[in-house]
């Protein structure tokens, strides 16, 4: 028998608000794009499947006979699922937060004591001063203040593969895997006003100019492109192809562009090497290069005078404005501080220190 509460619930839900017509149109458009036509099963295919099934059955019978005869050892049962990588995370001195993706899972800690570990994400970015974190989860871009007070999620229309937060914190540039191509978007830091900037780009993290009014990204043709938000204009930067990394200096307007065999700043090639990581450390361009042992990281003075080389003692995972992050076996460190301890074979990506 229906109770009073049940009747009230039914009445309440019957009066629930209606969706906005605009949301429906957008959702319909997205849904239709995701439609994947399936060819009807053909008789030939069915026959082939049946034949394959018959072969499998025969093989199983044969294997069973061999196992019974002791000639074959058969083990049955579900294979143990790999456990998610356990990682120890340490905040370096003077930093507000550190985040990384270890085996596809977010590892993050902030100065305020906020710690987040294990969330499956596809990309991550800390906002300036690590006040917020943005992450790609499923087909959404999600942002959250570490105190958990503010949060938003935005349907990205695909897996988010790269995120870059503007230095002023007001905008986020992000790249989405749309199936056959990658799409570049910019959204406000509060999750509104999402704009598609370029429908064909490479899956490379964009880099914001210091004034937050422009950012660089890698276009679909492999060229470095600077998008100016003030003039809504695209300018192709001069460099060889294909571009693998872009990095604006933390002050001024200098843009470093890496290709598979060189790094270009202001149209001039500053080093010819295969680039492992690229960034600006304390105002100087830092390039981690492969094949320059024992030195494999080079610092360039602002006037691009001869670089000074150092040994990084491992694979350079990231160059952040204050640290060079190096991976050596199970340890990810900066200077003498071990930032992360991970299983030896774990993948580590998107290392960010804010």
């Amino acid at each position: 028998m229906s109770s009073e509460v049940e009747r009230r619930l039914e009445a309440m839900f019957a009066e629930a608000p209606e969706p906005d017509p605009g949301a429906g149109e957008e959702a319909l458009h997205r849904a239709l794009r995701s439609l994947q036509p399936v060819a009807p099963p053909r008789r030939g295919l069915r026959t082939a499947v049946l034949a394959l099934a018959a072969v499998v059955v025969l093989l199983v019978i044969a294997a069973g006979a061999l196992a019974a005869a002791g000639a074959l050892h058969v083990s049955l049962g579900a294979k143990a699922r790999p456990r998610p990588a356990a990682a120890q995370l340490t905040l370096p001195m003077g930093a507000n937060g550190i985040a990384a993706i270890v085996d596809g899972r977010l590892q993050m800690v902030t100065k305020g004591g906020f710690r987040l570990q294990g969330l499956p994400v596809s990309a991550v970015a800390l906002s300036p001063h690590a006040l917020f974190v943005a992450a790609g989860i499923g087909n959404s871009l999600i942002a959250m203040a570490p105190d958990g007070r503010r949060a938003w999620s935005h349907p990205a229309g695909g897996k988010v593969v790269a995120i870059a937060w503007a230095p002023d914190g007001l905008r986020i540039a992000y790249v989405v895997d749309a199936g056959r191509h990658f799409v570049l978007h910019v959204i406000y830091g509060n999750g509104i006003h999402d704009n598609t900037i370029d429908r064909s780009v490479r899956a490379v993290r964009p880099s914001w100019r210091a004034d937050s009014l422009a950012f660089a990204y890698v276009g679909g043709g492999g060229r470095a492109v600077v998008y100016d938000l003030g003039h809504t204009s695209h300018r192709v930067a001069d460099a060889a192809l294909p571009v693998t990394h872009v990095a604006f200096a933390p002050t001024g307007t200098k843009l470093a562009i890496a290709t598979p065999s060189s790094v270009v700043v202001g149209g001039k090639t500053v080093i010819k090497a295969e680039v492992e990581a690229l960034g600006w450390l304390r105002g100087r361009l830092a390039v981690a290069a492969k094949g320059f042992a024992p030195e494999n990281i080079f610092f360039f003075a602002p006037n691009q005078a001869s670089p000074r080389g150092y040994a990084a003692h491992g694979f350079v995972a990231a160059v952040t404005p204050k640290l060079v992050v190096v991976r050596n076996g199970p340890k990810v460190f900066a200077g003498r501080t071990t930032l992360l301890s991970v299983p030896r074979n774990a993948s580590v990506g998107d290392v960010q220190v804010g």
Binding site: D20, L28, A31
Partner: protein, 174 residues
């Protein structure tokens, strides 16, 4: 002219018929959105969740068993997507987020106290209440949709109703 059945639309949509897919969308968008709204309590999230639910459903249409009804399957996707998002938010915040439904005018005029009580329900209980009374699914359909035993669905429903009854009684006394 007779309306095409869900099954017809699903079969045509599977072959890439966009009109049929759009027909399915129009038939279920409102219900899916309202279910998403009732679970999340936020319009913006409901937009995301319902849209994402359709996207996933259409992507997986080739694997859908068309002998089964389309509606409950879609609602299962939408409900699970809503749960995933809310749980992700919780994990991101490392604590239970306060639910702050943006009460629409229709609700402001209606059973606002009941809506507030529903919003206070535990996420797992709220979902079964929404699917039962908002979408009209039977406990068996909910159990299939959420991959739970029917007994669990019934007990969650019973506990949710008990909690709602208590909170409304307290309010009445106050």
């Amino acid at each position: 002219m007779r309306e095409p059945s869900d099954r017809d639309l699903v079969r045509r949509a599977r072959r890439g018929d966009r009109e049929a897919a759009a027909g399915l969308f129009r038939r279920y968008w409102r219900d899916a959105w309202r279910a998403a709204y009732a679970i999340t309590g936020r319009r913006s999230l409901a937009d995301d969740v319902a849209a994402d639910g359709f996207e996933r459903a259409f992507t997986a249409l080739g694997r859908f068993d068309d002998r089964r009804p389309f509606g409950p399957w879609l609602h299962r996707i939408v409900a699970n997507r809503a749960l995933d998002l809310l749980r992700a938010e919780r994990r991101l915040s490392d604590e239970e987020l306060p639910d702050t439904p943006d009460l629409a005018p229709a609700h402001a005029a209606g059973d606002r106290s009941l809506l507030a009580s529903v919003a206070e329900l535990q996420l797992e209980r709220r979902v079964v209440v929404v699917l039962r009374y908002g979408v009209g699914m039977t406990p068996k359909q909910i159990a299939e949709a959420l991959d739970l035993p029917v007994g669990t669905v019934n007990s969650r429903l019973a506990r949710a109703l008990e909690q709602l009854r208590e909170s409304l009684e307290v309010e009445h006394v106050e």
